[in-house]
């Protein structure tokens, strides 16, 4: 009888880091082809619509990057938190509060055509997210409150605050009573990178954040201390690393990135505040962080992939009128294989005969 076992490798295999995603991709193509065949579809053309068609136009690429940018930005913050064993499930709420803070500036000072308005909004977005993240950080440090629960619940609080604001104090007085703010003044918006497309200057923030996150995690001593605290808390105590600081940094950084992303969404494609700002970026970014193996470079690929899956899913639903459940199944298959193939970096497969 044969038995398949996983045997730990003596040290991680670096080239597997590159090969594992390719294996995952091949397996996904095989399995999803069977799925498409069973639905009477041509697997090749379906896959083409999923992966190639969304990127076949410049506008498609613009949409791709526009969606990937907040996912990457939030994913970076979540990665830094998880390295320190701080699990932020509340990026969605921090995103919302960041957007509210920036949106308030936009509405209050939008008419004045101020040069400082957009930079101030960027700052407000980050600070708003950080303020929202400071609540779970304070409760965790002072009362050892579980940050997963606190951040998760604060999502709903943030959503309700936003709902109150766009229905009340911040509602557009000339908006026919729609629950939304007035449209932002152009001075409160990111300028488009390419005329006629939605991709805008905010992408620069994400690019800078990737570099900073890489520096922080890979090169900075504070990042190292946080990783040690996450991997071996007793060793961090033994070495004298400040655990409370790790919790604060982990949450504040992820709050800042999520708040920034919220600001970028409000001052970019949305151009106003509406009751629902995020199509689930804060949660999807958790997947992005793990698909990216909790590294900044990986998060870039993870964000691009999940953004593409989102666009591709829409494309096949529209052009092949496939039900949403099929595209979800396909997305799930890919993510499943991606995460499963990661095992090969640390383990090897051995086939044993009994």
């Amino acid at each position: 009888m044969m038995r398949i076992v996983l045997e730990p490798r003596p040290s991680p295999l670096p080239f597997m880091r590159i090969v594992a995603p390719i294996i995952a991709l091949v397996l996904t193509v095989i399995v999803s082809s069977l799925l498409f065949l069973s639905l009477g579809l041509n697997p090749l053309s379906t896959l083409e619509i999923f992966f190639i068609e969304p990127l076949s136009t410049l506008n498609g690429v613009s949409e791709w990057l526009l969606k990937a940018s907040p996912l990457i930005l939030i994913g970076l913050g979540i990665t830094i938190g998880i390295r320190a064993n701080v699990w932020n499930i509340g990026a969605e709420g921090m995103f919302t509060v960041g957007a509210i803070a920036a949106g308030w500036l936009a509405i209050t000072f939008g008419g004045g055509n101020h040069i400082w308005l957009l930079p101030a909004m960027i700052l407000a977005g980050a600070l708003g997210g950080m303020a929202w993240a400071a609540i779970p950080a304070f409760l965790k440090v002072k009362a050892n409150a579980n940050e997963i629960l606190v951040t998760l619940m604060l999502n709903y609080v943030a959503a309700l605050i936003l709902s109150y604001l766009v229905n009340g104090p911040m509602q557009d007085p000339e908006g026919m009573n729609y629950p939304q703010t007035a449209a932002f003044d152009p001075s409160a918006m990111f300028p488009p990178l390419v005329e006629g497309m939605r991709i805008n200057g905010s992408i620069v923030i994400t690019v800078v954040a990737v570099i900073l996150a890489w520096l922080f995690l890979d090169r900075s001593f504070v990042g190292f201390q946080m990783s040690v605290g996450g991997a071996a808390p007793a060793a961090a105590r033994y070495a004298g690393f400040n655990q409370s600081r790790s919790i604060w940094v982990g949450l504040l950084v992820s709050g800042a990135t999520a708040g920034l992303a919220g600001m970028m969404e409000a001052a970019g494609p949305l151009g106003q505040l509406t009751p629902v700002l995020s199509p689930g970026y804060g949660f999807t970014a958790i997947i992005v962080a793990f698909v990216g193996r909790l590294t900044p470079i990986g998060v870039v690929f993870g964000g691009l992939l999940l953004s593409l899956l989102y666009l591709g899913g829409e494309a096949v639903q529209m052009s092949l009128s496939l039900p949403a459940s099929v595209t979800r199944t396909f997305q799930g298959t890919l993510l499943f294989f991606l995460l499963a193939a990661d095992v090969l970096i640390l383990y090897r497969i051995r086939i044993r005969r009994r």
């Binding site: 071996a232 105590r237 033994y238």
Partner: protein, 505 residues
């Protein structure tokens, strides 16, 4: 039908880069106590894992009562009647003793009945343990009892023990040996892995000696001298520690004055009015049965717990209320008892593990890590302290216990500390590495540092300490010069007998 309970024929196991076991053959008869003797990395643990089904051999046969068997996993080994007590215990921290034992048992999950069996068995073999205590409250010695009882409940025909006496007092070792002899007399075979030659000579009928993955011979340990066995095992003369005369600093470098502290742990030991002073130039050894307050003392001295400022002084400066980082900055270094997870982060490289405590040594510039220097620091430790590994990039958990300990001790010594506090410096470390570590500690003290060693190995304390004190139920006896005392006297103090502990509590 073979007369052997267990027979190995040409067992070979290769790992990338090394042959852990190279054509190993050995035979164990029923009721025989068989030693497997060898240095760290000689392949003892791998061999035992093969017998226990935790690792599969590449080639070779395992015969059980004369029949060829494939032991696919530990459950299969247990079904055959093989029990194993690992050096690093495989117990769950957060649940009770009886629950820990229950998970390894087949059959119905009946905790009260199992508790009764545990108590009965522990009384029969003299292994006292309370089934309802939570595991993380137990000392290392007590955990070992749990492991042994867990094995014995399965009525093993072969019991494997990996370095079982590392943490036991002389009396406890004697009790363990009685248990093992009783078991052997009842027909249970015992495979006893150790590098402690005196114990092997006292206990074992036969010894198979391994070196670099190969059997270099079989001996009757009762008939040969310890020195002969040692040469056999190491393949060379044993290094002996040497010490230069003591030149003490005029004032103590490390002092604890009336240190009292309640334990964080409801089952822990409170420290009461504990005082000690260590001068630069000497080693103070603290003996004691595990669970008498050593853990509490160490965490208070290291700063992982704080006390009131005056209770702990460093070169006369009160530091009792300072956290770890501040004490380290003042020149205190520590080697904790737990290597993986406390002294070192298992999943990161040796280089990064150097950075863990040596970051103030110029490895970090303006908040950024100087990778080259970090690697260089680790490389220097690896070569100076003879750490066997693939290099600074090797992950900490890929090293054997002894080699990792050399790295940790080396790292802390490389910080040139004023005060070094070490717990269990050579727990589970082989002869050559132990001698090396002990010599390094002596050399550090002679260079002017104050060295405090907390150990449960009396032999070790007598080898390296200049003065020895005993910790018992959170109180410390007066330190006596090593030459003015002896093992028996210290052994009595460890059991709480003696004038030192008769003062009012």
């Amino acid at each position: 039908m073979s007369a052997y309970r267990l027979e190995l024929c040409g067992v070979t196991k290769r790992y990338p880069g090394i042959v852990a076991n190279d054509g190993i053959s050995l035979q164990v008869g029923p009721g025989e106590i068989h030693a497997v003797l060898g240095e760290n990395g000689a392949g003892k643990s791998t061999l035992m894992k093969i017998i226990y089904g935790a690792v599969e051999a590449d080639s070779g046969d395992v015969l059980w009562n004369g029949e060829k068997v494939k032991i696919a996993n530990p459950a299969a080994a247990r079904r055959l009647g093989i029990g194993m007590v690992y050096q690093h215990f495989s117990l769950f921290e957060s649940v009770s003793v009886v629950e820990n034992i229950a998970v390894a048992m087949s059959g119905r999950f009946d905790l009260p009945a199992l508790s009764t069996r545990i108590v009965r068995l522990s009384e029969r073999y003299g292994l006292p343990v309370d089934p309802n205590r939570l595991l993380h409250h137990l000392s290392v010695g007590e955990r070992q009892r749990v492991e042994i009882i867990r094995c014995l409940l399965q009525n093993p025909k072969l019991l494997i023990l990996d370095e079982p006496t590392s943490v036991l007092t002389p009396q406890a070792v004697r009790r363990l040996f009685e248990v093992l002899r009783t078991l052997a007399a009842e027909g249970c075979s015992i495979l006893y892995i150790s590098h402690k030659l005196d114990e092997i000579r006292e206990l074992c009928d036969t010894a198979t000696v391994l070196r670099s993955g190969r059997v270099v011979g079989t001996a009757s340990p009762k008939l040969v001298s310890a020195a002969e066995l040692a040469r056999f095992m190491v393949g060379a003369e044993l290094p002996d520690v040497h010490r230069d005369p003591v030149a003490l600093t005029p004032h103590p470098r490390l002092e604890a004055i009336g240190l009292s502290a309640r334990s964080d742990d409801p089952f822990g030991t409170d420290l009461s009015d504990l005082s000690l002073a260590v001068h630069g130039g000497e080693i103070l050894g603290i003996a004691g049965v595990s669970g008498n307050g050593q853990g509490e003392l160490l965490s208070l001295l290291s700063g992982e717990r704080t006390a009131s400022a005056d209770m702990i002084q460093l070169d006369g400066q009160p530091v009792g209320d300072l956290p770890v980082a501040d004490r380290r900055a003042l020149g205190v270094a520590f080697v904790p008892e737990e290597r993986l997870g406390r002294g070192a982060v298992p999943t990161i490289s040796l280089a990064d593990n150097g950075l863990l405590t040596a970051h103030a040594d110029g490895l970090v510039k303006r908040g950024f890590i100087d990778r080259q220097r970090v690697a260089g620091f680790a490389k220097a430790i690896i070569s100076q302290f003879g750490v066997k590994c693939t290099g600074p990039a090797a992950l900490a958990h890929s090293l054997s216990g002894g080699n990792l300990q050399k790295f940790i001790v080396g790292r802390e010594i490389s910080l040139s500390p004023r005060v070094l506090i070490v717990s269990q410096p050579t727990w589970g470390v082989d002869v050559a590495a132990s001698a090396f570590i002990r010599q390094a500690l002596i050399d550090l003290s002679r260079s002017g540092a104050a060295v405090l060693v907390i150990s449960e190995e009396l032999e070790e304390l007598f080898q390296i300490s200049d003065r020895i004190a005993v910790i018992y139920q959170g109180r410390l006896s007066r330190a006596t010069s090593r030459t003015a005392t002896n093992v028996e006297e210290i052994g009595l103090l460890m059991a709480g007998v003696g004038p030192a502990f008769q003062t009012a509590a």
